[in-house]
């Protein structure tokens, strides 16, 4: 994954202050994970620029890229970096783009509230737990002192960014346990784990944060001691390897040609941190947004 490479050598103009009234459309689609952030941004932006028509779709990261490649959207949201196939197609279609980071999502591993024996796990244990070995797993298979009861697995659908990320860093592309229960809807997973004494599951941090009283979170030991997912640990990068960045990709052409898109993108960068916190994600360190802003200014030249 790389950022846009549209280095036309125009220099000069600084930030336009968006006080003048803008019109036109800003069309966005992409990740359903990122959607709440973009919804919040769009909501605020419409308050500032009521004549700009901002629409945000939620067709998933892949679906978003589909439209982005076809040139149907100005920005596309992604819960993972662009894939090689996608970037090849983007090149083919001549779509130049720039990647911006918006926030972190910490993937939380949770168990049932009544589970008394787990409070932390190592990454290796996680892997042992989740990777398929052809047999039915009991807790005691992981640690002998744990009960001899069958584990119930809950995971986001295989086509989600969260699964994708988990697959990459924990499963390392090996198949997940076959009897895992998958669902597209994280709320549904919350209910699953909540209602099942021997359940373990994972999903976005926000879903844990909102249901703290119903679930028990598992701290993850990545060699540096067990870390519980919290705002701070995710933001600081301590909670590793399960915190992942969320992105938006903006079309360079749209920024250059449409004043409102440029203005909106700037607004996104300036407000993403605060607003992502509000909807349940974790903001990036300030430097990240500065970098984004610089990239944008490059484009606007």
């Amino acid at each position: 994954a790389g950022c846009g490479s549209n280095d036309t050598s125009n220099s000069g103009k600084g930030n336009e202050t968006a006080s003048d009234k803008l019109k036109g459309e800003v069309i966005m689609d992409g990740s359903s994970t990122v959607f709440p952030i973009m919804e919040a941004v769009a909501e605020e932006y419409m308050a500032a620029q009521p004549d700009v028509k901002v629409s945000v779709g939620s067709s998933g990261t892949g679906g978003g890229f589909k439209k982005f490649i076809a040139g149907e959207t100005d920005l596309t949201n992604a819960s993972r970096p662009v894939k090689d196939e996608e970037s090849a197609l983007l090149d083919e279609k001549g779509v130049k783009y720039t990647e911006m980071k918006l926030a972190f999502d910490g993937i939380s591993i949770v168990v049932n509230k009544d589970n008394e024996f787990i409070d932390k796990m190592t990454v290796d244990e996680l892997k042992k737990l989740w990777v398929d070995n052809g047999s039915v797993k009991k807790w005691s298979d992981i640690r002998p002192e744990w009960p001899k009861e069958e584990i119930k697995f809950y995971s986001p659908g295989t086509d989600s960014g969260t699964y994708d990320y988990f697959n990459e860093v924990i499963l390392e592309e090996k198949p997940m346990v076959e009897n895992a229960t998958l669902s597209e809807d994280d709320n549904v997973l919350v209910q699953g784990v909540e209602g099942d004494k021997n359940a373990i599951g994972f999903f976005g941090f926000a879903y844990y944060a909102e249901n703290k009283d119903k679930l028990k979170v598992v701290s993850i030991d990545n060699g540096k001691g067990a870390v519980e997912p919290t705002h701070e640990t995710i933001k600081s990068g301590e909670y590793a390897p399960l915190s992942r960045p969320l992105y938006t990709y903006v079309s360079n052409k749209s920024v250059a040609e449409k004043e409102q898109v440029a203005d909106y993108t700037q607004f996104v960068i300036e407000n993403a941190g605060e607003l992502s916190e509000e909807v349940g994600y974790v903001s990036l360190p300030e430097e990240e947004y500065k970098k984004d802003l610089e990239k944008l200014n490059e484009l606007k030249k």
Partner: protein, 313 residues
């Protein structure tokens, strides 16, 4: 009494003759052609669907062998070594459909019989539209009903039931299609001529005997048609199974486990993460095609059955 040649300065026939010069005949010739065109649109839609599906399906079959697709027993499109055997999705779809049928057919038919044979005209007029509301409730609403009401209730009764299973969405899909069976079958029952019923009553038959042995067989073709239509709806139902069925493709015949249906898979990929142009992307068209062929076969079967059952009167 009739005094046409009195004060009138006109004769209707005369007036008609004058107007006749305006040619109507063109419209008469044009209209059927226009209407024919609208009728042909339905055919165009089908062609459109088939073409849409077929192109992308072909690309899919360049990547995955059609034999594997049709006979494989594993549907793991996202695995590092993906496998695309559609059977688990088909099994998931069938499980839901069969459960839905078990719920909807008896209840729907019993309702139809109650409304057409036992209920008063007034009751009928009140209940039928209420049931039709049931058929029109957005499926997404049903989905959460299944997940947050039916599943917990079932789990209270059978604690071994998984959070996601085939039973709960199956029952709820059944509830959704039940009014369709009830309403259409009721129409079929009502249209059985009264004289045939009278024939049975006059022999001392009770209402039940009349209904089961005379009216029901006479209306059978309409009833079969309604059931098939409803089951096609069940096969094609998406949101309920997506929400309450989980998304685990499985070959097992166990209905207490999580499943995935063909439709749920399409939605999963449509809203998901799959890259454009990937095998997964094309797989939804292949699954869509399978679904289409499925409903096609169902309908042809229905036509055949209903022709067979038809008792002329």
């Amino acid at each position: 009494m009739l005094e046409p040649k009195q004060t009138d300065t006109y004769s209707v026939q005369q007036l008609i003759l004058e107007k006749k010069s305006k040619k109507r005949w063109n419209i008469e010739k044009l209209i059927p052609k226009l209407l024919f065109l609208t009728a042909v649109i339905s055919v165009l839609i089908t062609i459109g669907i088939v073409l849409t599906l077929i192109f992308e399906t072909f690309i899919f079959f360049e990547k995955v062998s059609i034999v594997e697709f049709l006979t494989g027993h594993k549907w793991l499109p996202f695995a590092s070594t993906p496998s695309f055997g559609v059977m688990p999705l088909v099994v998931g779809t069938l499980k839901v459909t069969v459960i839905a049928a078990i719920v909807a057919v008896p209840i729907g038919l019993a309702t139809a019989i109650f409304l057409s044979e036992y209920a008063s005209e007034k009751t009928r007029r009140i209940i039928k539209p209420i049931l039709e509301v049931l058929a029109g409730i957005p499926t997404i609403v049903y989905g959460f009903f299944a997940l947050t009401f039916v599943t917990p209730v079932l789990r209270d009764i059978f604690p071994s039931l998984d959070m996601f299973n085939a039973i709960s969405p199956g029952i709820v899909v059944g509830i959704m299609i039940m009014p369709m069976i009830a309403s259409l079958s009721e129409d079929a029952l009502v249209s059985v001529p009264k004289s045939i019923r009278e024939g049975a009553y006059a022999l001392g038959a009770t209402k039940l005997e009349t209904t089961i042995k005379v009216v029901l067989p006479a209306a059978m073709s309409g009833i079969v048609a309604s059931i098939v239509l409803a089951l096609s709806r069940a096969i094609g139902e998406t949101m309920i199974v997506s929400v309450a069925g989980g998304s685990t493709p499985s070959m097992s015949m166990d209905v207490t486990n999580s499943i995935q249906t063909m439709t749920a898979y399409i939605v999963q990929v449509s809203t998901g993460d799959a890259g454009y142009g990937t095998t997964i992307y094309y797989s939804i068209y292949a699954v869509g095609m399978t679904l289409f062929v499925f409903t096609l076969i169902m309908n042809l079967l229905a036509q055949f059955i209903s022709r067979k059952f038809r008792e002329e009167y």
